[in-house]
């Protein structure tokens, strides 16, 4: 069937027979159909399970991060209408000021992430405080009328949902929303009727089911993006509802992306004085990202790893484009998909136990794939010749070696993380941060090349050699903690060594005290002196300074730094030096950037300016940016347009001999 018509723009095609398959199946089929390399199904499955795991993990992290904020909000809302709960008669006089309790929630500029926060917020509120939560967005509310309509729609719907749980036959509440005039009075009437009903219900049921909510829960209205609401709408709403605050316990939550000052610049004093604002600050997105990186990338449990360039691309997109953690995670997902799609050996990218099993079932083709890996080749070359032959010819031997290598890789990762953290403890407190403030920068540096060969590392070691004692001691203690908590078994010795350093420092402290006393007594002796002697002593002093003997503390400090250095050299080898790293590392950054941070403008420009990039025809090959007259017409037209920019006389164009 053709999709070209002069009277229609949409064409629907339905499969002739209604074959409805499960989505998963089609997805895996689609990978299987075209991809001729091995184990596609298994790869797809492991990809899916890995992603599910990571998704769960990120959600958990997000939840933990927001927990504090949500708890604060909940307690605020509880407090806000406690008077209302008590139903005291003086209640109205207490609330004389007619202030609406308002939570200003500063969320930061990463607007796309807010949805998650609001979702969890409204869930928590509905669980703990009140069933009446309305989420409003600026684009739905161009006027006060729309706002009320939306608000009432959401409130009444949610109330109906709850009613349906308890009474099935109760239909009189379900007044269609169109029939009610959307006004505050009708809202209040609704609230009263609902309250009466729940009252009767609770008395009947003796408060067993809805005991979590109070008797008259507040109505919470959340303005998701406060900045984009029109001022008039907000003002009207606030003024109107402040008049009815006695009858309707309303609480507002403003989602703010910029700064809390915006409330005062949006609302005049007369309106903002009707609000009783309390400020809540959510975690900044950068901290959020750090936590994600910390918990996701710098752990041993996740078998999939990001290469240095890929990580840099993702971080750059985050820092330079959107500050969105969600997008970062999306990028991470894409990395996983790409890796499992393009690397046939990614089938081994799973838990070590599974991976070992899978190694045993590898087909001959896959073994060949392993042999083709550059890192494996390097490994083979470093072996003795008998081993080389065995590795290249015998599949079973190869599998054995592969298992061992995978184990090594796993071990490397475990050690890597601990040592990296340890190094970070040192570098993050140095002045000017030669190796970066964040652990992700250090991670990138370590992945990129041998970190101990870089200038930055050199300078940070220099700086570390000048640390004072108290800093050094605290750092060492932190390192001990890191190593103790790490899962690697090799670190027992390291811990011991570090502890030894610590005790030495303590001893030093006692010694230093004594030394001080002796030096001062010595000086006391040379009190009388003439010019000649003074000169002599000064010269001596100078000489001695040149070949100055180090104090014990300095020696110890050197020792500590050298020890850390040796740890780094041992454990922070860049990943691409490890054999079989291709199995778990995804490193094609260009693909990722092309898909996430595309430059359509550049693509067009290149295509028009230099068609040879795409059309590999020798005739189009040109040097120095000029365009040959053989180029496609559109390229020549573009060149002309570039030159004059504005109007081109068509007649001249057609007559000029192109």
């Amino acid at each position: 069937m053709s999709t070209h018509s002069i009277s229609k723009g949409c064409f629907v095609f339905k499969p002739p027979s209604k074959k409805r398959r499960v989505r998963q199946e089609t997805a895996s089929n689609s990978t299987e159909r075209k991809n001729d390399s091995e184990d596609t199904e298994l790869r797809f499955a492991s990809c899916q399970s890995l992603w599910a795991q990571i998704k769960l993990e990120t959600e958990k992290i997000q939840e933990n991060l927001n927990k504090q904020l949500l708890d604060n909000l909940v307690s605020f809302l509880r407090r806000s209408h406690s008077e209302f709960q008590e139903k005291t008669t003086e209640w109205s006089c207490q609330m004389k000021s007619r202030e609406i309790p308002t939570a200003a929630l500063v969320l930061g500029v990463n607007v796309t992430d807010h949805d998650m926060t609001f979702k969890s917020l409204s869930e928590v509120l509905q669980d703990d405080i009140t069933p009446y939560v309305a989420l409003l967005e600026a684009k739905d509310c161009p006027g006060i009328k729309n706002l009320m309509q939306k608000l009432m729609g959401q409130l009444m719907n949610c109330c109906i949902d709850i009613d349906e749980d308890s009474f099935e036959d109760d239909s009189h509440v379900q007044v269609s929303q169109n029939k009610i005039r959307c006004s505050m009075t009708s809202l209040i009437n609704w609230y009263k009727s609902v309250m009466k009903k729940t009252d009767s219900e609770t008395t009947r049921k003796k408060r067993n089911s809805s005991s979590r909510h109070w008797q008259s829960p507040p109505v919470v209205v959340i303005f998701k993006d406060m900045e984009s609401f029109t001022t008039k709408v907000l003002q009207d709403f606030i003024v109107i509802s402040s008049h009815h605050i006695h009858e309707l316990p309303l609480a507002l939550i403003f989602g703010i992306a910029t700064s809390p000052m915006i409330i005062h610049s949006l609302l005049p004093h007369s309106v903002s004085s009707l609000l009783c604002i309390e400020l809540f600050q959510s975690l900044s997105c950068k901290e959020h990202l750090s936590t994600i990186i910390d918990k996701l990338l710098l752990t041993a449990w996740c078998p999939f790893k990001l290469g240095e360039k890929v990580l840099k691309v993702l971080i750059n997109i985050f820092l330079y484009h959107d500050f969105s953690v969600q997008n970062f995670i999306k990028g991470f997902q894409l990395c996983i998909v790409e890796h499992f799609y393009s690397q046939p050996l990614s089938v081994l990218c799973c838990e070590l136990v599974d991976a070992k099993k899978r190694v045993n079932t590898l087909s001959h083709n896959q073994c060949e794939n392993i042999r083709r890996l550059p890192s494996f080749r390097r490994y083979v070359e470093s072996q003795v010749s008998e081993n080389q032959i065995a590795l290249l010819t015998s599949d079973s031997f190869l599998k054995e070696v592969t298992q061992k290598l995978l184990e090594d890789l796993q071990l490397y990762h475990e050690n890597y993380v601990s040592v990296l953290r340890c190094l970070h403890v040192f570098t993050s407190s140095l002045p000017k941060y030669p190796l970066g403030k964040q652990i992700r920068e250090l991670h990138c540096a370590c992945l990129e090349n041998q970190v101990w060969e870089t200038e930055e590392y050199e300078s940070s070691l220099q700086l570390a050699r000048m640390l004072n004692k108290s800093d050094l001691v605290t750092m060492l203690q932190q390192c001990v903690e890191i190593f103790v908590s790490s899962s690697g078994k090799e670190f027992d010795k390291t811990v011991e060594k570090l502890k030894e350093f610590l005790t030495q420092f303590q001893e030093l402290e006692a010694e230093a005290f004594e030394e001080d006393v002796s030096v001062s007594s010595e000086k006391e002796l040379q009190k009388k002196t003439d010019l000649y002697h003074l000169q002599k002593t000064l010269l001596e002093l100078k000489e001695s300074r040149r070949s100055k003997k180090l104090t014990k503390f300095e020696m110890l400090r050197f020792e500590v730094v050298d020890y850390i250095d040796s740890l780094v050299r041992n454990y922070l080898v860049p990943a691409d030096h490890k054999t079989l790293y291709e199995v778990v590392y995804f490193n094609t950054a260009s693909v990722l950037r092309g898909h996430l941070n595309a430059a359509p403008r550049t693509a067009l420009h290149t295509a028009l300016n230099n068609p040879y990039c795409y059309l590999k025809n020798q005739a189009l090959k040109s040097d120095g940016g000029s365009i040959s007259n053989k180029a496609p017409d559109i390229c020549i037209a573009y060149k002309l347009h570039l030159e004059c920019g504005r109007l081109i006389n068509l007649v001249d164009w057609l007559e000029c001999p192109f």
Binding site: C10, V111, G625, L640, L647, N649, P657
Partner: protein
Amino acid sequence: MSQPEGKVSGALEVKFVPDEAVLSHIADDAGIKVRKDKAQLAVSVKRFAKKLENISDDEAQEILAEENYVAALGTCAQDPVGNGSGVSGGEVYSFQTPKCSSKMAELASELAQTPGQSVAADHFKCPEKTAKTPQSSKRSGSNKVQQRSKKKEFLSTTPYRLRKRLAAPDSCLESESEYSASCSEEDDEEDQKEVSTVLSGQKTPAKATAAATSPPRNALAKKIKEEKMSSLVEEYFEAHSSSKVLTSNRTLQKLQTRRLNQKTLHDLLKKAPLAYAAEMKKLSQQHESLFSKWMLQLHLGFNIILYGLGSKRDLLEKFRTSVLQDSAHLVVNGYFPSITVRSILNSITEEVLDHIGSFRSPLGQLEFIHKRFKEDASLELYVLIHNLDSQMLRGERSQQILAQLSSLPGVYLIASIDHINAPLMWDQAKLRLYNWLWYETTTFNPYVEETSYENSLLGQQSGSLALSSLTHVLRSLTLNARGIFRLLARYQLENKDNTSYPGLSFQDFYQQCREAFLVNSDLTLRAQLTEFRDHKLIRTKRGADGVEYLFIPVDDSTLTDFLEKEDEDV
């Protein structure tokens, strides 16, 4: 400077002179020659000097800026990106780089001097031509500068410059175009060749004019050191502030060649062979190998967007026919002139979900779709949108709805964009909903289907259609009615030069009709006008004073044709 070179042009050796070298040459020499040429100092001396400096300075800064940008982005320079997307920003986002302007001019003049395109291949066999290359490049350099300086008549473009050269021996050209008019229309290319051969014959006078303009310019470079950065900005706005854009006043209408009608044009274009077909095929094969990957990624919750030069319609069609045969899918031609989000949603609800009934608002409709997809997890729909950035779909609201639609778990969207600024349609929130994966699919295919709803400038405008329908409708009317219409048409033609002509007011019209004995009461006239309006022959609009003005929404040439025809008939 080009003067002496021009004289000895025959003896000059062949060498390529890059643009920058020319510039620096001008700048250096100027210092020495200044004293001789002092008398010739023009008023615009300073301006020119500044300009020269600015140009070279600008380039250096541009490079610097590029480096900064690249460094900031970190990864840009590091990895080799396949399709040359490593092109730095400065190159893409510059206004009119001096580089390309002169190069194009150079090329143009080169071609102008080359008899026919085929000769360009044996470039070096033609000593006369190559000997002139350095000279022509210099001339173009000077032209460029003057073009931007005060002389407004140079404001136009290469074609204009070319034309200026063409225009010198005008008589020749006139005869040429007459010749092409008399010639059969099919061999356009031959005509062009002829023109260019004539041109190559004329290059001597052209050279002379160019040489004549150059001497004062040598002196202009004197004050090079008084360069100010701000002057470039001033220049820019000066050049762009003049509302009147000068192009040559030759128009297609004046062209003697009769314009082809739509159909013959189509046929002719169809016959023209597609250049580089083999390479383009290779490109599209490359893209087609991605189909399975697309499917996988669509199923994993991403949506796919295609960009790059060339029509992506065929690619998407191929995707549809090869992969989507067994599943429900919706194809949306975004370039269709009257496509709306409404119609897209309607076809989903009515044809995919088999729902009968209408919705009050698109949002409600979207909610319904959302609900249905939520209820039935096995429901899935592929949506293919050609040109998501088309005129009708690029609005904020429609994009919002499409974004929400695409974020439904069972809906897989794959779309193409072509506009260079298309990504500006989306803010962060929409991007999040769309969840795009970008794919560069440069195809170089002509946009045949996409532009099929537009009229070609080369063909006759839809005038023939309008004319035939005019006569057709008019023929079915009474004699008086035709008279009324003719009256209005004549009046409109009389006022065609008056740009503020609002139309003929009803009262005046009535008066005139009465005088011509065409109507006897204003009721009959009104009845008649209603009939015209129903056939869309006339349109009315209310002026500022509340008076009703009538006019015929047909362009003047068609109207003239119509009146001529009518007069013949009568």
